[in-house]
Symmetry: C2
C-alpha cells in the first residue's frame, strides 16, 4: 500500500475537524483510497490550546516551514484564512511542489490567477471544495457533474451567518440589530460581522462559482452587493403577506446576447424576496443552498451545512482523498481555471445595470402628508417602471411612514436611477431600501 | 487533440438527448475535456422514427454489432432498458474492451456483480450516474464527495411517477385510481405502471445507492416494499391535519450494532408521512430528491429532475466526459463496487424487521359498532406498541369506517405482527394500511 503524507496548516475549528477525520478515521480513508494516508504534521501559531483531540508527540509545530521543508509531504491542507501571510504560505507550498487543498475563499477570489498559474507551472493541483458551501459538494457539481451543461443561472445562499439572522428575524418578527446581537451571543456571528453581513463573504464565493460556471474573470469587489443590515421587520411582514421569504442571495444570471453579440453575466449579492414553496425559501438557520439551472439538467438544487467543524472537514478530506487517488490532478488540468491564456470556460463579461432585468421590492420612508404617494410613484413612472403593488404602511413613526412598492419586470439600472432621484426628494426621509424578487 | 469515439446503443428518449448533447454541443464538450469526443454510431432497432434530430448519413444502424465490432469505439453508452438481451449486449461490449456508460438501473441492481467483475477483468470502467436520480449527481456525491463520511441514513424520492401521482392526490384531494389514469394520460405514468407504483423501480435504485454507501450486497427483491396504490385521499387528509405530506420514500438507515456486534442496515420502500417544512416534503411533481446524513457532513440534500430526456442526458454525458478525461477509471478502481473479494465498503447486512425502529401510521377499516376501537387498540397494546394519536373518521362508507392510528417509536416487526393479528379480526374489514413516519 502506497503511503501519502499530509501536512495541515491552520489548526482552528475546521483544521481540528480535518485532523479528527484523518487521524481517527484513518482506516476508512485508507480503505477508500487504497493508500495509507498519513497526517504527519500540523502547523499553527497556537500550539497549546486544547482542541479536544490528542495528537501524537511532535505532530504540532508553530512553524509552517516544518511542513514546507519536509520533502515527504506531498499534500498540504491550507486552512488559514485571510489574504496576507496566507498568500505567501500558499505560494511557498506550491513552489515546494506540494499539492494544495484549501478552504480559503478570500485567497482564491482575490489571488486565484496567481495561485493557479503557480500551481500549473509547478505541476501540482489546488482543490477547494470547502471554499464554497461548506459540506455541499457544489464545486464538484459545477465543475464535473454539470459539465455537459451551459449554466443559465445560480441562486444561492452562501453565508450561514446572514441566513441565521434573516431566519430569526422572520421567525420572531424581530429587527436586525437585536437579532445580530443574539447571533453574536450564540456564536453564529463574529464580533466584527462586516464581511458576512455586508455580503463580502458571499460575493467572494459567488465570484469563485461564477468563474467555474461561466469562465468570468473579475475582482469580487466588482460584484454589486447590498448587505442585510438594510432589512427590517417591516420587510418580513410585507414579504409574508405577499407569500415570500427574504434571503441574502448570491445571483448569477446569464443575460443572452442580442443579435449575435456575446452573452453577459448579471452578478449580484442582494437581500431577495424568494417565493415560498420553492426549495430555497425553505432554507433556514445556518444552512447553505445552491440552486443551479443548466440547459440540459434544468433545475438542480444542493443543500447542507455551509460551515462548521465537521461538515467543512468532510469537504476538505474528500479533496484530500481525490488528490490521493489522482482525480484532482485530472480535474485541475481539464477545468484549467484562472488561466487567461487557455480557458475552458466562456469568458463572458459582467452585464451593465441597464442590461440586468428583474422585479424589485422597494421600501421608501416618506413624509406622512397628502400627495406623497403620487410624487414618489411618479418617479417610477418617469423611469418607465411599472408597479405591481403598492402599500403605504399604517405604522406611525416619527421618521415617516414606509411606502412598500413591488415592481413588474424592469432593469436594475432603471431602479437605481429612480432611487437616486428619490434620495433628492424632500418627502423621502431616508435612503430607499431595495431588494430583488425571485420566483 | 486526442480523438475519442463513442457509440450509443438505444435511441429512445434519453438516447436522443445524449445524441443532441454529443452532436450539437460538440464544441462545449471538446473544450471541457481537451479531447475531440465523436459520437460515431447509434444502434436501435427502430431506424425510421423521427426523433427531431438530424443525424449524419450512416450513423444510425439496427445492428449493435456495428458498434461492438468497431475497434475505434472506446466508449459505449448503453441506454436500452431491461435485463434480458441488455445483459448480453453489456457483457459483449465489456468483453470487446469498451468502457461503459449506462442508465440501466435494473441491470446493475440485478447483475451488478457479473457486470463489474467482467469489467474489472477486462480493465474497462462502468459509469452509471444516470441510473439513479436522473440529473441529480447522487452517485458522484455518494462515491466521491461524501467519501470521508460514514453514511448514517438515506431518505430519497427516486421515482418521479409515484411522486407525481402522490403530489396530485395531495393537491387535488383525489384518490389513487383516477390520479393514476390522469398521470397516464399526461405521459407521467406508463400503460403498465407496476414497476413504478409497486416500488420496484425505487427498490432497484435504493439497492444501488446502498451498495455504494454501505457496501451491502443484496438482491433488490429482498428490500421490503409497499407500493403507493394503498394510499388514499383519507390518508392525505389526516397527514395534512397532523402537518405531514406523503411521499414514497426509499429508506436506508444504519442500525447501530449493540455490544460490539456489527452494524446492520434497514432498507425499505414505503409510503411515508414526511413532516412539512423539511426539504424533502417540498418535493412535488416529477422531481426526485435525496437526503443523506453522514457522520461528518451531517444533513445534505440533493434535488432535481429524476427523469426526462435532457436532465438524464446531462448525467450520461457527464459520465462520458469523466470517462474521456480518466476520472471514471480512477473512481471505478477505488470504489471497487460489486466485488466480494476486495470491498471498499463495509459489508453490512440487512436488519431484521424486529431490529428496525420507527414511528408508524396505520389506517384500519373497521366495523362501525361499539367496542371496536378498544378491540383494535388492544392488539397494539399487547404488541407493546404505544399510540401517539388515534382518530375514528366520521366518513360513512358501506365498507366500514377508517380508524387512523399514529404510533410512538416501535419496531417494524411489532407493527407487522399487529397487522397480521388485525387481519384475523372479524371487525377489521380490509387489510390495514401502514406507512412510515419521518421527521
Amino acid at each position: 500500500m502506497k503511503t501519502i503524507k499530509v501536512g495541515l496548516v491552520g489548526f482552528g475549528t475546521i483544521g481540528t475537524g480535518v485532523a479528527k477525520l484523518l487521524l481517527l478515521q484513518k482506516e476508512r480513508i485508507s480503505k477508500r483510497t487504497g493508500c495509507d494516508v498519513q497526517l504527519v504534521r500540523i502547523a499553527d501559531l497556537d500550539t497549546t490550546r486544547d482542541r479536544g483531540l490528542k495528537l501524537p508527540e511532535g505532530m504540532l509545530t508553530a512553524d509552517y516551514h516544518d511542513i514546507l521543508n519536509d520533502p515527504e509531504i506531498s499534500i498540504v491542507v491550507q486552512l488559514i484564512g485571510g489574504t496576507g501571510v496566507e498568500r505567501t504560505v500558499m505560494l511557498e507550498m506550491i513552489n515546494a511542489g506540494k499539492n494544495i487543498v484549501t478552504a480559503n475563499k478570500a485567497l482564491l477570489a482575490t489571488y486565484g490567477e496567481e495561485i493557479f498559474t503557480a500551481a500549473r507551472a509547478k505541476g501540482v493541483s489546488v482543490a477547494f471544495e470547502a471554499a464554497v458551501g461548506g459540506g455541499i459538494p457544489i464545486i464538484a457539481a459545477m465543475g464535473e457533474s454539470l459539465a455537459a451543461n451551459e449554466i443559465e443561472s445560480i441562486h444561492a445562499i452562501l453565508n450561514g451567518t446572514c441566513n441565521f439572522i434573516l431566519s430569526n428575524m422572520e421567525e420572531n418578527g424581530s429587527d436586525y440589530a437585536p437579532t445580530l446581537k443574539e447571533a453574536q451571543r450564540l456564536g453564529f456571528a463574529e464580533a466584527n460581522p462586516a464581511m458576512d453581513v455586508e455580503g463580502s463573504d458571499t460575493a467572494q464565493k459567488l465570484s469563485i462559482l461564477s468563474h467555474i460556471a461561466f469562465g468570468i474573470h473579475l475582482d469580487w469587489k466588482d460584484i454589486p452587493k447590498v448587505g442585510i443590515e438594510t432589512v427590517s421587520g417591516i420587510d418580513f411582514r410585507y414579504a409574508k403577506l405577499l407569500g415570500y421569504s427574504i434571503k441574502l442571495l448570491a445571483i448569477a444570471n446569464r443575460v443572452r446576447g442580442v443579435a449575435g453579440s456575446p452573452d453577459k453575466l448579471e452578478l449580484s449579492v442582494c437581500p431577495t424576496l424568494v417565493k415560498k414553496g420553492s426549495p430555497i425559501a425553505a432554507v433556514s438557520g445556518a444552512y447553505n443552498a445552491v440552486s443551479v439551472i443548466g440547459d440540459a439538467v434544468e433545475t438542480s438544487f444542493y443543500y447542507g451545512k455551509g460551515a462548521g467543524e465537521m461538515p467543512t472537514a468532510s469537504a476538505v478530506v474528500a479533496d484530500v482523498m481525490d488528490t490521493v487517488v489522482g482525480r484532482t490532478k485530472i480535474t485541475f488540468e481539464t477545468l484549467n481555471l484562472w488561466n487567461r491564456e487557455k480557458e475552458s470556460g466562456e469568458n463572458v463579461v459582467l452585464a451593465k445595470a441597464s442590461e440586468v432585468k428583474g422585479r424589485y421590492y422597494l421600501r421608501v420612508v416618506v413624509e406622512d402628508r397628502a400627495g406623497v404617494i403620487s410624487e414618489v410613484t411618479a418617479v417610477l413612472a418617469n423611469a418607465g417602471i411599472s408597479i405591481s403593488s403598492c402599500v403605504q404602511d399604517e405604522c406611525d413613526e416619527a421618521s415617516g411612514v414606509p411606502l412598500i412598492i413591488m415592481t413588474h419586470e424592469t432593469t436594475e439600472g432603471a431602479v437605481l436611477g429612480a432611487i437616486e432621484e428619490m434620495k433628492q426628494m424632500a418627502c423621502v426621509k431616508s435612503e430607499p431600501v431595495r431588494m430583488r424578487i425571485y420566483g
